[in-house]
Symmetry: D2
Subunit: 337 residues, 4 copies
């Protein structure tokens, strides 16, 4: 199902190259004024128009390693229901974003090919049919709907004092944010791609969010994060590195929040919640293409159509906005109970 | 809620020191013969009676680093419904395990203390009341119910050719399984505890399990694994290590299963599914206790009551059985659709 | 929540006088060709353009007792996703119907008034805000989305041999269909309104649909029918009349389907499923208005704006299409398991 | 699934002639003292030990038309979890009732027979296996678990000022409660059975319970009531009788609560909520048996084994307690949101 949440429910729809993508957000309280500028800001961040790794870039200037397509694709939000004069009605909020950048011909060759590192084959085998144009539902384009919905959730959270801060903390082996842009630019020049780690810190969350046994806070966060395209792992607090620490080192250390991640027994403990997600490098890079699909394409399609500059060198850059959106959807859902 | 799954639904109940723990398993097909020996075997594995890290130990012999309590606690399963003459009826299967090792006095001091690294405080603040005896619902005792239910699920999966293999692959910095027992024994002698990484490999899963967008296979697996006590992270395929690989290195490597983890776009691709979970060292170790609670307990309770030999040195050892159970519950649920 | 179903899931959105109403249908199998003519036909039936009680009326001719508004309101369906070249993709189908007949000024007086027999007050008190224009979400306009979604479901059901036949069987005290139009016309001339009973017969349903205990077939049907505006009761098989029969009369009668309604123990038994819904007369009728709101309206709004010819004399007429749609959604959901 | 509710969740398990029936109640707030006497009282009412139609009967005296089996069957509740010293812990409450009256031999003949008016055949065809002893899950025995859970819910509701009053208002054609016992006694002497109508009045419910569109209050009530064995219809407010009223008669009448049933647009309006359920006569009556199964049973089983005095003449009598329980479960769930 294309639905997330129980009491604050987000339903996503739309193919990347169909008429529109969009979503329905149910369970939004009535009487809340929506700040459309914040939604625009979040969409810009996701599209790479708002530089995430290097905040010194000016507005409109593009971050390294983001495909030009991201900038071209339309993301004007049309609000269909649930909002009257900018204020929520308590009824479901439906919104759509029309698809503009429908260069479907670029994907013509995909009708008969499965790309490595993509979901082409599993979709085809599961459904027996697929919208080959740009990955259909599997396209990262779908995350624009998540960002719109997540941004609404984030506004509701802010009213309760909950803040979500998300940032890129590692690109390849590089852990110094000041060098991220340079690092990614070099990868891109080389026709390659690289992975990254995104960290999210949630402050202001009251004690008591999450439930014992299955509905643990970390379970809901992990579920949502693992649903983001390209995410290969989730950890909170001491995470995977923690395997190298003995109990006495861990629990007697000074920074218990880094160890606990702000969660005990599945329940928020009132300190900041800290988690990280790792994103793989995209398989859509020139080097891989040249080796994986060495032969000329049928019907004389040039190779440039398939790859030149169309894909991000480091998808973790834009994933920052999606991680933030998903965290907001999860938290607002748990707080709506 | 204490329920996992949609079409194959497991509900867990019971406090560690109440009358019984147990569960209800709904959505089990009718006419399946349950192999009670396999359930016994899984419970033994969870209790540390069946050695996980070192299979050379004989039956009944205990693995290093497992608390004696695990052996003493009762785990006789009483089947209340859903099974007639050993065969499922298609109705909900309810089972209970009576609690035996009710040394409640050991926990008397906890009435007024919150242990670090435990859920004592978050439970108290969330519910305003808690069963302080042994952690109540937060106790790892609850996982016995998961293992019973998961074992039933695993039997249903085996009939479809799906096999789940789970093992410990790292203890502290040690990655050589032959040295795990020795390593853990040393940690235990030192009054300390240590983390570990559990790996799970699923074979025989057909193409098409999992759904695009939210209900991805990795999302459901992560949700379930993060719900296990002490689990601080989940990764599949290339995982966190993958951040160090460039796209060209990753996708042109020979072993695509290690990279993809057997999942593409949230959907199983027919190759083995591979994921790992990291478990923290338990906070209940002598070294931490001595420093964290240095003063004598009120009412003359000796410190030995609180800690001596009652806790695992490496909870990852017994988590192996729980990871396997949770994987089975997730897969059977997704396949029951 | 504005969502119905578990494995075949319909989400409805939109205010009657906002930009659009619409829905998302999730769980539709891939590769099904949608017959848009059948959807048009169902929408016509709902709008009173296809005469339900008297099939001798010609196309486009309007049935008695249906408000002219029903004819004017737009119901052009725009398909946003999930369908490529008329064939389903297995992804969520989103559709919208733009609102056209936005005579919002007619509702200006409602900003400060609660109509009897309507949800004006409960909405205001529940949400603290409401879209007063035409009832907002409470408007029967919303049922157009149900009919679109239900019509898709009905097509899926037909492929499995399941047919749903729905008709008006009683209007006021009149049980002879041949006299329904005349009866309703007289009510309408009198400025009054009248209730009706709709009967639904489902044939071709296999044995085994529905589950014991809570998820009984009749429970799901009742849930869905009671959600239709104006529906005050649901019965199946012998229903309320059956209270007058003794057991020996009932179970030894020849027509067991009429008694059982095609369901035993919550599970379809392979014979036709028969149920009935009663619809109240609408409170929006001239006679009630003149007595309930005798005084001139503020700001000189004429009374005709409020009532003349804007409402159905017998909402059961158009409810026939909605009952059929809801039955289809319920059955397709249960069969999607 | 054998589960009802979303935020206050009841799971039912157990066959009538297995080891035990029982349930799990999740979402119960912590710190509530459970009054076990009220639960006993509700179970007595359900068992016919507390006379429903004629309150003048003394305690322990049995109401007319209730089978002796109802009195003999055990209903001692054992609480397994979720309660410590009589106070809820906020964790799932599991309880069981051991089965005592296991006269399984009475049902031996059912191994190869399907009774009319029962679910024998549909169960067999759906599951391919069934517990033939006393109907298995389809037995009314299962409703004892509902009554226990519903009684807990009712106590939670009372704390919020919500009261549920349920009573028998019609038996066959008889509408005078003073004549119910006599009427039922005559039916029973005649070896026959009879239907009845149960009315439920809920007072103290705040405005705003229920949601527009699908999750209407009446939808949830209807779903739950239709899940009770033998219930053939649900109506609220003006119900089916309302079809005979014109709009002007209905909405200008003095008693709007009788018309509206306390619900507008699916949302409680603060006045008493009134609904009714009709129950069919049981098919298990001597007259039907003698005609439906005229031949001697195989293996010389006497006919008396099958029918004599084992079944209720009017199941609506005992359904009163179940209707009350189900109403409580529905309301507590909606209020737990």
């Amino acid at each position: 199902m294309n639905t997330l949440g129980k009491n604050f429910v987000f339903t996503s729809f739309g193919e990347s190259h169909g008429r529109a993508i969009g979503g329905v957000l149910d369970g939004v309280p009535a009487g809340i004024r929506i700040d459309m500028d914040l939604i625009r800001e979040a969409l810009d961040k996701r599209a790479g128009r708002k530089p995430t790794p290097n905040p010194s870039l000016k507005g409109g200037e593009q971050v390294q390693g983001v495909s030009p397509r991201a900038l071209r694709e339309g993301d004007e939000v049309e609000w269909l229901s649930g909002v009257l004069d900018g204020v929520t009605l308590g009824t479901p909020i439906a919104f759509i974003i029309r698809n503009k950048d429908a260069r479907s011909e670029d994907y013509e060759w995909l009708k008969h090919s499965y790309r490595i590192g993509h979901a082409d084959r599993t979709y085809q085998e599961k459904y027996g049919i697929r919208d080959h144009r740009g990955g259909g539902r599997a396209s990262a384009r779908e995350t624009a709907s998540r960002v719109v919905a997540g941004s609404v959730a984030q506004q509701l959270l802010k009213e309760k004092g909950v803040e979500i801060q998300t940032k890129l903390v590692q690109v390849g082996e590089e852990k110094n944010p000041e060098r991220f842009n340079e690092y990614i630019a070099a990868i891109q020049r080389d026709g390659d791609s690289i992975g990254g780690i995104v960290e999210c810190v949630i402050t202001g969350l009251p004690v008591g969010v999450g439930e014992p046994i299955f509905d643990k806070l970390q379970s809901h966060l992990a579920f949502a994060m693992m649903s983001i395209n390209g995410c290969k792992g989730f950890e909170y607090g001491s995470g995977f590195e923690g395997v190298n620490l003995k109990g006495s080192e861990m629990y007697l250390s000074e920074n218990q929040t880094l160890i606990s991640g702000g969660i005990a027994g599945g329940i928020s403990d009132g300190t900041p919640v800290v988690f990280r997600c790792v994103f793989k490098p995209t398989a859509s890079n020139r080097k891989t293409f040249e080796k994986a699909y060495p032969h000329p394409l049928p019907e004389g399609k040039g190779e440039d159509k398939r790859i030149v500059g169309r894909h991000d060198a480091c998808i973790a850059v834009r994933a920052v906005a999606v991680v933030e959106a998903m965290a907001a959807l999860v938290l607002q859902n748990l707080l709506s109970k």
